[in-house]
C-alpha cells in the first residue's frame, strides 16, 4: 500500500559514508544557503521580467498613441518638450553610475573591497543626483501634463522610472552598509567560519543581483532618453 506514511526505504543500501566532519545542521545550512544564493540570481531576473512588462506598458502607450496621433495631438507643432539637457544629463548620470558600480564590482571580484565601496558611493550619489534632477524637471515642466499625447506619456512614465530607480538606490545603500560589516580580508581569502563565509557569499550574491538590476535600469534610462528626447 503506497499511500500511507512513508517508511524508510524497505531495503536500503548501506548509506554512503558522510563526508568527514559534516553534521546535519551544516548540511542543511549549506543547502539553504545555496538556495538563497540561487534565489537572488533567479529573483533579480524575474524582477527584470516583471519590470519590463511594467515599463513596456508605457512604451506601448508611447508607440500606440504616437501611431494613432489623435487630432494631430501626439506632438503638435509648436509643442515644447522637456528640457533636452536635463534628459541627457539624467540618462548620463544613471549610465555613468551603472558603469562605475560595474567597475567597482570587477574590483571587488578581484578581492579589493575599498575600490568597490568608493565606486558604489559614487554610484549612489550619481543615482541620487539623477533622481533629484528628474524631480526638478517634473516640477518645472514646460508643458501641461495633458497638453499632448507625448506630454501624457512623459509625465506618466518618468515618475515610475524615478520610483524604481529610487528603490534600486535604497538597495545599493543597504549593500554599502552591509559591506561595512564584512572584513576586507574576507574578499581575499576564505573566512574561518561557515557563518562568515555564508555572510560574505550572500553579500556577493546580493551585489551581483543588484548589479544586474542597475545595469538593466541604465538600459531603460537610455531607452527612455531615446524615446523622450531623441525621437519625440
Amino acid at each position: 500500500m503506497s499511500g500511507t506514511l512513508s517508511p524508510p526505504p524497505s531495503s536500503p543500501a548501506p548509506p554512503p559514508e558522510p563526508p568527514e566532519g559534516v553534521t546535519r545542521a551544516a548540511e542543511e545550512a549549506s543547502f539553504y544557503h545555496e538556495a538563497a544564493l540561487n534565489a537572488a540570481w533567479t529573483g533579480v531576473r524575474l524582477a527584470i521580467g516583471g519590470l519590463s512588462f511594467g515599463f513596456g506598458c508605457f512604451v506601448f502607450a508611447y508607440f500606440y498613441l504616437r501611431s494613432l496621433n489623435s487630432h494631430g495631438m501626439w506632438h503638435p507643432a509648436g509643442f515644447k518638450g522637456p528640457q533636452p539637457w536635463a534628459g541627457a544629463l539624467i540618462m548620463a548620470l544613471v549610465v555613468v553610475s551603472a558603469l562605475l558600480q560595474y567597475l567597482g564590482l570587477t574590483r571587488i571580484k578581484g578581492g579589493h573591497k575599498r575600490p568597490w565601496q568608493l565606486a558604489a558611493l559614487a554610484a549612489l550619489a550619481l543615482g541620487l543626483a539623477a533622481v533629484g534632477l528628474q524631480v526638478w524637471e517634473l516640477l518645472n515642466l514646460r508643458f501641461q501634463p495633458g497638453s499632448a499625447g507625448f506630454a501624457s506619456v512623459f509625465t506618466g512614465a518618468t515618475p515610475v522610472f524615478l520610483i524604481i530607480v529610487l528603490g534600486a538606490l535604497i538597495w545599493l545603500e543597504t549593500l554599502i552598509m552591509r559591506a561595512r560589516a564584512v572584513p576586507a580580508i574576507s574578499f581575499v581569502e576564505q573566512p574561518p567560519t561557515y557563518a562568515e563565509a555564508f555572510a560574505v557569499q550572500r553579500f556577493q550574491a546580493g551585489l551581483s543581483a543588484f548589479t544586474v538590476l542597475w545595469n538593466y535600469l541604465a538600459v531603460i534610462a537610455i531607452v527612455f532618453w531615446v524615446l523622450f528626447y531623441v525621437t519625440a
Partner: protein, 664 residues
C-alpha cells in the same frame, strides 16, 4: 575568491561549528507588552495617520486648482490619502522595520526567528514571516472577500427580480455591480495561490521555507488595504464602470473611481509579489530529488499562474496608474482631444485582463488534477500532458486579449488571428479533460467530498469551456458579446471552475493545514446544494443573454422576467449553500475541532507524509524525494520521499541524482 553570478558549493572551512545564522545576531528582543508590538492595531493607527496626512497634503497641493474648486472634489487628496494610508498601514504593521535596519546597517533577524517571535492566535494578526501563518491569514482573508462579493451578488439578484419595481436605484445598482465584479476578479485573484499556494507549496516541494518570506507576508497585508479601499468607494458614490473601468467613463466618474484605481493597483502589486516569491521558491527551494518531472501538478499550476501574475499584473498597475494621473494631474492618456485614446485603456486592461482569467483558472486545474489520482487510486494519466497544457495556456494567454474587443473597432483585420489564438487555447485546456478521463479509466473512484467538488469542477468547466469556444467565434460573439451569455460563461469557468476547485481543495487540505476535519456530512450537503443551485442559476443565463439582455442592467425586457426570477431564486439558494459552507467551516474549525487523522485520504503527496498541522520548519530534516507523487498501484514503487535521509546526500548538486543513490 570571486563573486559569481551563480555560486557553486559553499566553502567548508573546518574548525568551527557551522550554522546559517547571521554573524551577529541582534540584541535579544525584550518582550514588549502586546499593544506596543506591531500588529493589526498599530497598522490601523498607521493607516489612519497616513490617510489623514495624505488627505491634508492633497488639500494643500490642490485646493486652489480650478477643477477641484469647480467640481468640489479633490482627487489628489483621496488618492494621496489612500496611498499614504496604505503605506502607514504597512509601516504600522512593521513591514519596513527590517528595511530600515538594513538601511542603518544593523543586522536583521533571520526570517525563521521573526516567524517564531509570536505564537498562539496573536501571530495571525501580525506581520508574520511563517508561510503557514501567511497561508491561513490568506485563507481567512480570501473567504471574507469572497463572502463580501457574494453578498453583493445577492443584492444584484434582488434588484433583478423585477424589471419595473426597483429595490436599488440605478446608481446604487451600478455601484453594486462594480463592487461585486471588482471584488471577485481582483481580490480573489489569489484565492488559491494565497492560502493553498503559500501554505502547501513548500510542503509539496519539500522545503522548510520560502525564498522571500517578507515579500510573501507583504503580499498578504496589502490585500486588506485593497479590500477596504475598494469598499470605501461606496462612501463616494461608488464607481459606475464595472470591473473593466473603461475610459473615458472612468476618467469622468466621481471619487469612487479613485478607490477602484488605487485598490486595483495595490492588489496588482500584491499579485506581483505573491507570484514572485512563489516562482523563486519553486525554482530554488525544491528538496533534493524533487525533479521537474516529480513536481506535483498543483505546483505546476501555481508556478504557471505565478508567471502570469508577475508578467501581466505590472501592465495592470501601469494602467491603473495612468487612470489615476488622468484623474489627478490631468494627463490625457485616454482623451482623444489631447492625443490620447480610449483604445489605449482597453488594450492595457485586457492585456492584463485575459491572463487574469487564466490566473483564475489554472490553479483550479491544479487542484482537481491533484485530487483525482488520490480518489481514483490511480496515477495521474498523462502527467506531462497536464503540465504541458498549463504551460501552453500560460503562453497563449498573452496573445488573446483582443478577443474582448472584437466589436470595438480596434484592429478589425486582426480579428481572425485572435479568433485563432483564442480557439487554440482550448487545445491545452482540453488536456485537462484528457487527463481526467484517462485517470477515470478503470479507476476505483471514491465519492468523498473533495472528489465530488473535483467532479463538479469538470462538469461546470466543460460547459464554461464549450461556451468559451462560442464566444471566440467573431460572428457568434457579435450577438453574445456584452450580454449575460458572457456573464454566464465566465461564471461557469470561475465560480463553477475555480470556486468549486477551491472548495474541493479546502475539504481536501484543511485537515493538513489545521489538523481539523471538516464535517463530511455537511460537506456533502454543501456540495450537492451548491452544484444544483449553481447550475440552476447560471445555465438559464445563457438563454437570457442570447435573448438579448445586456450585462450590468438594472432593468430588462419584461418578457425575460420569469427567467430572471428563476435565476434570482436559484441564486439565493446558492447563497444558502455557501452559508452551509460557512457554517461547516466555522463549526469545524472554531467549535467542534475534531482532530483529523494524519493522512485521511491515504495520499502519496509529500505534504501528507508529515504530521498535521506541520510543525514549525515543516520537516525535521530536508527530505529526499524518491519518486513521483502519483504512483498509486505501482508495484514496488518507492515511498515518495525519505524523510530522514542519511547524512551527506542533501546538497544542491544532488537535486537530480541523490535519489538514485538512496534508492538503489
Amino acid at each position: 575568491m570571486t563573486v559569481e553570478l551563480q555560486p557553486g558549493k559553499p566553502q567548508e572551512p573546518g574548525g568551527r561549528v557551522p550554522g546559517g545564522r547571521q554573524p551577529e545576531p541582534g540584541p535579544p528582543r525584550s518582550p514588549r507588552a502586546w499593544w506596543r508590538r506591531p500588529a493589526v492595531h498599530t497598522g490601523v493607527a498607521g493607516a489612519v495617520l497616513g490617510y489623514l496626512l495624505g488627505h491634508l497634503l492633497g488639500n494643500f497641493i490642490a485646493h486652489g486648482y480650478s477643477q477641484v474648486q469647480n467640481s468640489g472634489q479633490n482627487d489628489y487628496a483621496i488618492v494621496l490619502g489612500y496611498v499614504l494610508g496604505t503605506v502607514g498601514w504597512l509601516a504600522g504593521l512593521g513591514v519596513f522595520n527590517d528595511l530600515l535596519r538594513q538601511l542603518a546597517g544593523r543586522p536583521v533577524h533571520a526570517a525563521e526567528e521573526a516567524g517564531d517571535s509570536s505564537s498562539g492566535l496573536a501571530r495571525y494578526f501580525r506581520y508574520s514571516l511563517d508561510h503557514k501563518v501567511v497561508g491561513l491569514q490568506y485563507l481567512v482573508g480570501m473567504i471574507g472577500y469572497f463572502l463580501t462579493g457574494g453578498l453583493l451578488a445577492m443584492a444584484i439578484r434582488t434588484e433583478l427580480l423585477s424589471p419595473s419595481t426597483h429595490v436599488f436605484s440605478s446608481a446604487a445598482y451600478t455601484e453594486i455591480v462594480g463592487e461585486h465584479g471588482t471584488m471577485m476578479m481582483m481580490m480573489l485573484s489569489s484565492i488559491i495561490l494565497g492560502p493553498l499556494g503559500n501554505y502547501l507549496m513548500p510542503l509539496m516541494i519539500g522545503s522548510k521555507r520560502m525564498a522571500f518570506p517578507r515579500i510573501e507576508a507583504l503580499s498578504f497585508w496589502l490585500t486588506p488595504a485593497a479590500y477596504l479601499i475598494l469598499l470605501s468607494g461606496l462612501m463616494f458614490g461608488g464607481f459606475p464602470f464595472g470591473w473593466t473601468g473603461y475610459a473615458p467613463l472612468s476618467v469622468e466618474a466621481t471619487q469612487g473611481a479613485d478607490a477602484y484605481a488605487v485598490a486595483f493597483g495595490v492588489m496588482g502589486i500584491s499579485l506581483i509579489l505573491l507570484g514572485f516569491n512563489i516562482i523563486v521558491t519553486i525554482v530554488c527551494y525544491r528538496a533534493p530529488g524533487m525533479r521537474w518531472s516529480r513536481l506535483p501538478i498543483f505546483v505546476w499550476a501555481i508556478l504557471t499562474t505565478s508567471f502570469l501574475m508577475v508578467l501581466a499584473a505590472p501592465v495592470l498597475v501601469g494602467g491603473m496608474y495612468m487612470m489615476i494621473t488622468d484623474r489627478t494631474v490631468q494627463t490625457a492618456f485616454f482623451t482623444s482631444d489631447l492625443g490620447g485614446s480610449s483604445y489605449l485603456w482597453e488594450n492595457l486592461f485586457w492585456f492584463f485582463g485575459h491572463p487574469e482569467v487564466y490566473i483564475l483558472a489554472l490553479p483550479g486545474f491544479g487542484i482537481v488534477c491533484e485530487i483525482l489520482p488520490v480518489f481514483c487510486r490511480k496515477p495521474l494519466f498523462g502527467y506531462r500532458i497536464a503540465a504541458a497544457g498549463m504551460v501552453g495556456v500560460t503562453l497563449l494567454s498573452f496573445f488573446v486579449w483582443q478577443h474582448h474587443l472584437f466589436d470595438s473597432g480596434i484592429n478589425p483585420d486582426m480579428r481572425p488571428v485572435f479568433m485563432l489564438t483564442t480557439e487554440l487555447i482550448s487545445i491545452p485546456t482540453g488536456f485537462i479533460f484528457l487527463v481526467a478521463l484517462g485517470t477515470f479509466w478503470k479507476a476505483k473512484i471514491r465519492f468523498s467530498v473533495p472528489m465530488l467538488f473535483a467532479l463538479g469542477f469538470y462538469f461546470n468547466f466543460l460547459i464554461g469551456g464549450i461556451s468559451g469556444v462560442f464566444l471566440s467565434d467573431v460572428p457568434a460573439d457579435t450577438t453574445e458579446h456584452g450580454t449575460f451569455f458572457v456573464m454566464a460563461h465566465f461564471h461557469y469557468t470561475i465560480m463553477g471552475g475555480l470556486v468549486f476547485a477551491f472548495m474541493g481543495g479546502l475539504y481536501y487540505w484543511l485537515p493538513k493545514m489545521m489538523g481539523i476535519e471538516l464535517n463530511q456530512k455537511l460537506g456533502k450537503i454543501h456540495f450537492w446544494t451548491m452544484f444544483v443551485f449553481f447550475n440552476s442559476t447560471f445555465l438559464p443565463l445563457f438563454a437570457v443573454g442570447m435573448a438579448g439582455q445586456p450585462r450590468r442592467v438594472y432593468t430588462y425586457a419584461r418578457s425575460l422576467e420569469t427567467l430572471n426570477d428563476w435565476v434570482s431564486i436559484s441564486a439565493f439558494l446558492l447563497g444558502g449553500s455557501i452559508l452551509v459552507f460557512v457554517i461547516n467551516f466555522v463549526w469545524s474549525t472554531v467549535i467542534a475541532r475534531v482532530p483529523a487523522p494524519g493522512n485521511p485520504w491515504r495520499s502519496r503527496g509529500l505534504e501528507w507524509q508529515i504530521p498535521s498541522p506541520p510543525p514549525p520548519g515543516n520537516f525535521t530534516v530536508v527530505p529526499v524525494v524518491l519518486s513521483g507523487p502519483y504512483e498509486y498501484g505501482v508495484a514496488g514503487a518507492p515511498p515518495v520521499a525519505d524523510l530522514d535521509p542519511p547524512l551527506g546526500v542533501i546538497s544542491r548538486d544532488s537535486l537530480g541524482d541523490a535519489a538514485e543513490q538512496v534508492e538503489v
